[in-house]
């Protein structure tokens, strides 16, 4: 195949990827968008085979590894529960990162294959591009592995901080730049290996100080990195499809990080520097205030007599896998003519859009699910707010108490409802380590139980 035709086809696959993302602007067009993405990928792979024109022993092995990966990937995609989506995405990011490192290594070892010069005499521009690709890829890999371990619960979600952390990270960051510069001057292979090693270390050090509830930002950020790594490799390979995709994914991840940071009213650097949610002074004498607590029967009674209910789901619902029984409860309410809608805070859950996926899984129609800005005014005209597994995103202190660590964060105005039902296992503070004054309000009824168990009991009582 002529290189010109190939370049044109790579461009086509890049355009199909743009259309894949464009499709996600509404659920109706999204499925078609995904098909565009799949065709783009197919074109890119077939064109690469046709350009290489090498259908020998290696080709057989390529097909074997391709199908092996395909089978593993498909099994994972069908087996994975929707609640585990954040760690799945983190795990997938680590694979992209590692693949980028591997491609960069093979380009460094055999530059002639990629038309980049000869060993020890690689074009400077290519060397910079592959170093950047390898370095960002390595950071993506080790960072995503840590994120995966934290999300999967293998590693504690609480931030790991030590003295001199930022200075250490700064020094390592500088050493990455220095080694890239020296690599370009000297072409010493050792520097390339050192570069990759310290990049792995950076990814690790960057993510350990970041706490569990900041994971939406971390995952989005790693998403962005995997894009920039792909773009770096795209420049090395002079491949348009890879450059376009890298730019798309890079900006997509960056925008998601921005949206997540805004949802928490924190700057990106504040999140990255980490340590938020570390229990430094939570021992602030928590006064014993009276709390009204109730049982499933009370909750069922309140909701049955309401005319409108808003459900506020959070990460606790995902942990308890309560989305299905929640839908059952809502079905009962709707049968009794009660208006029910769902309110989703941008940072509810452990990744962007996490709650929406879980509700979709439980067959909740997406036109009943609303974003913060669209529903926040409705709380004042609503009888009951049913908060299940959420906490900090409802805390009125974010609006009233300038001393609070979450002051200024956009929150759902659940306290404006006539009554608030709060499903929670205990009175323990949320992730931010702060008390929620909502617990002690007169119109709040605490339901102390596991989210799933409590919702099941409410369903029984509604019958």
């Amino acid at each position: 195949m002529s290189p010109n035709l190939a370049a044109f086809l790579y461009l086509t696959s890049g355009i199909l990827f743009i259309l894949a993302l464009r499709g996600l602007s509404s659920p109706e067009t999204s499925r078609q968008g995904n098909l565009f993405g799949i065709s783009g990928m197919l074109i890119a792979i077939i064109v690469t085979f046709l350009v290489a024109e090498s259908f020998s022993k290696e080709f057989i092995y390529v097909l074997i590894f391709l199908s092996a990966g395909g089978i593993i990937g498909s099994v994972i995609a069908y087996k994975i529960p929707m609640t585990a989506m954040p760690q799945l995405v983190a795990g997938f990011h680590s694979l992209v990162g590692f693949a980028a490192v591997l491609v960069a290594i093979s380009a460094f070892l055999e530059p002639n294959v990629f038309n980049l010069g000869t060993v020890g005499n690689i074009k400077t521009a290519s060397l910079i591009e592959m170093s950047l690709g390898a370095s960002i890829g390595a950071i993506t890999f080790s960072g995503s592995v840590i994120a995966f371990l934290k999300l999967q619960g293998i590693m504690s979600g609480s931030p790991i901080i030590f003295r001199g952390q930022h200075i250490l990270n700064g020094l390592i960051g500088i050493s990455i730049v220095v080694s890239i510069v020296y690599l370009c001057i000297s072409q010493l292979p050792h520097l390339f290996w050192i570069l990759i090693l310290i990049s792995f270390l950076v990814g690790f050090l960057l993510i350990i100080p970041i706490g569990g509830a900041d994971m939406p930002v971390v995952i989005s950020m790693l998403n962005s990195y995997s894009g920039w790594a792909a773009a770096g490799i795209g420049f090395t390979l002079e491949n348009t499809a890879l450059i376009i995709t890298g730019a798309l994914v890079g900006s997509s991840g960056a925008i998601l990080s921005y949206i997540m940071c805004k949802g928490m009213n924190r700057s990106f650097f504040n999140v990255i520097l980490g340590g938020f949610g570390a229990t430094d002074d939570t021992a602030k004498n928590i006064e014993k205030k009276p709390v009204k607590s109730g049982n499933a029967e009370d909750a069922a009674f309140l909701m049955k007599n309401a005319s409108s209910v808003i459900i506020v789901p959070g990460y606790g619902m995902a942990v308890a896998q309560a989305q299905h029984v929640l839908r059952e409860m809502v079905d009962f309410l709707k049968k009794n003519g009660i208006k029910v809608s769902y309110a989703i805070h941008p940072v509810a859950g452990r990744m962007p859009g996490h709650m929406n996926v879980l509700l979709a899984e439980a067959n909740v129609s997406y036109d009943e699910v609303f974003e913060l800005d669209d529903i926040n005014n409705d709380f004042a005209n609503t009888d009951v707010a049913f908060v299940i597994g959420a906490n900090d995103v409802t805390n009125p202190a974010a609006k009233t108490d300038p001393q609070s660590p979450i002051y200024g964060m956009p929150v759902l105005d659940v306290e404006k409802c006539k009554s608030v039902l709060f499903v929670k296992r205990s009175l323990s503070p949320g992730y931010a380590g702060i008390d929620n004054e909502l617990f002690y309000r007169d119109n709040t009824l605490m339901l102390f139980a596991d989210a799933k168990k409590m919702t099941e009991d409410i369903v029984k009582n509604l019958n």
Partner: protein, 101 residues
């Protein structure tokens, strides 16, 4: 003086960042999770580099080191491509509007 082809690639890159910026802002927030899984799948187009590395060299000689690295990279990227697109498809199937009674 001729323009370095690098500049053309850089232009494509910068324009794509702009396209990405506007396209991603138009994605509805409820589809942010599928957005992440699909961007993950498409970034595995890096498999192109892995294939080139795998097919390099004389075919009758033994595998070179870049072939072996390439095979491994293909495996990783293929997991991502299949896993990413299929899990996205699985999620998108669930986003349904129920018919009003």
């Amino acid at each position: 003086m001729e323009i370095d082809p690098f500049i053309f690639r850089l232009s494509i890159f910068i324009l794509s960042i702009f396209i990405g910026y506007y396209v991603v802002w138009s994605v509805t927030p409820s589809l942010h999770t599928p957005l992440m899984s699909v961007t993950n799948a498409i970034s595995s187009v890096i498999i192109v580099g892995a294939i080139i590395a795998s097919l390099a060299g004389e075919s009758n000689s033994n595998f070179e080191i870049s072939n072996i690295i390439g095979f491994f990279a293909i495996l990783l990227a293929a997991i991502n491509i299949f896993g990413g697109f299929l899990v996205t498809q699985r999620m998108l199937q669930m986003y349904k509007k129920k018919k009003k009674k």
